[in-house]
Symmetry: C2
């Protein structure tokens, strides 16, 4: 599909639509509507229709969307019709939790390797993984053709790790380190710092 310029904020909502549709499919629900999706997501029905119409006509006025068809289309658009291997950097508490997280595989992702620079941790068994040396990271990631990485190292090391990952050909980074990291324009970045999410709410309490 040729990529027209779709705002990133629209792309950001597609996984939410896809997630609801997967739950509907699991319950055997064959048809839905922008109104019903709206109730599940607290996004307006008009917004949902507008977002989806960016990618073509998925539903008909009055009859709604076919759950499976729409789900398949979103899967293609988001490139989830495959399993994405991922590298985890940092074998501390957060990295371990990511290596063990059961929720990835059924939704299109798989942790393939985990790295650390601590001699105490290199070679250690972590679930199904043996922790590898960050020194071999560029080679290992290149050889495996991995494009997605999750960073779970201390803030002070996060930018160096990022630069190495970029050198290794990584194109998407999920950053758990509590610092903003800089990536080149062709490398996507999302950040998960739970404290930032919490601090965003304490203002209102």
């Amino acid at each position: 599909m040729p990529k027209k310029l779709i705002p990133d904020i629209v792309i950001g909502r597609l996984p939410l639509y896809y997630r609801v549709l997967q739950r509907m499919l699991a319950k055997g629900q064959k048809v839905t509507s922008s109104k019903e999706l709206s109730e599940y997501l607290e996004i307006s029905a008009a917004q949902i229709r507008k977002d989806l119409s960016q990618f073509g006509e998925f539903g008909k006025q009055g009859t709604g969307y076919h759950t499976e068809y729409l789900s398949n289309q979103l899967r293609k658009i988001l490139q989830l019709d495959r399993i994405w291997d991922m590298a985890v950097v940092g074998a501390g508490d957060v990295g371990s939790a990511l290596a063990h997280y059961q929720g990835f595989h059924e939704r299109g992702f798989k942790v393939a390797m985990i790295f650390d620079n601590d001699p105490q941790k290199i070679g250690m068994k972590l679930g199904d993984f043996v922790v590898k040396d960050t020194g071999s990271m560029v080679d290992e990631i290149k050889k495996a053709g991995i494009k997605i990485a999750m960073i779970a190292v201390p803030a002070s090391e996060a930018q160096d790790v990022t630069d190495t990952l970029v050198e290794a050909g990584i194109k998407a980074i999920l950053n758990y380190a509590p610092i903003h990291i800089i990536t080149p324009p062709d490398v996507r970045l999302q950040c998960i710092d739970p404290v930032v999410f919490l601090q965003r709410m304490t203002y209102y309490i």
Copy 2:
């Protein structure tokens, strides 16, 4: 401070400014500028000046911001001049990781209790905690006056848990369950589903 209507997107950026300022303070840096903050955060200097000016005059044209003063002001605005106790619901992999996470305390938060409904887990030691029965959740949270909770239960249980937390007086929820939950208008909600963050990036690879 009387709360004028500040857009939530502005509030959402304040913790990022605060995080950078804390790092500057740790290095002993006394002064900064919107230009320098901009380089660390990839947010435009004009946007940073505009955001901060919503709360008063923190800096002077040409001399920049005093790091410590600005940091103190943001701490007050975000109500981080205290430690917020939090309840974790769900003692699985994610809940355990949250209970062990070292990054909360130095940044204004503390896990105070953890709940599960699984008889196998209730009474179990988890780091410094003994897992409590969700059956006692409303009483325990009310008694302790806790206002913030993190949900780390399966998607199918998340809404019920949310409703119970709201009944217990919780005013801010960080939701790790992979489903959108509905809260009343006076209860803030932030969601961390790593797969949604990942799927938002695979579109571009």
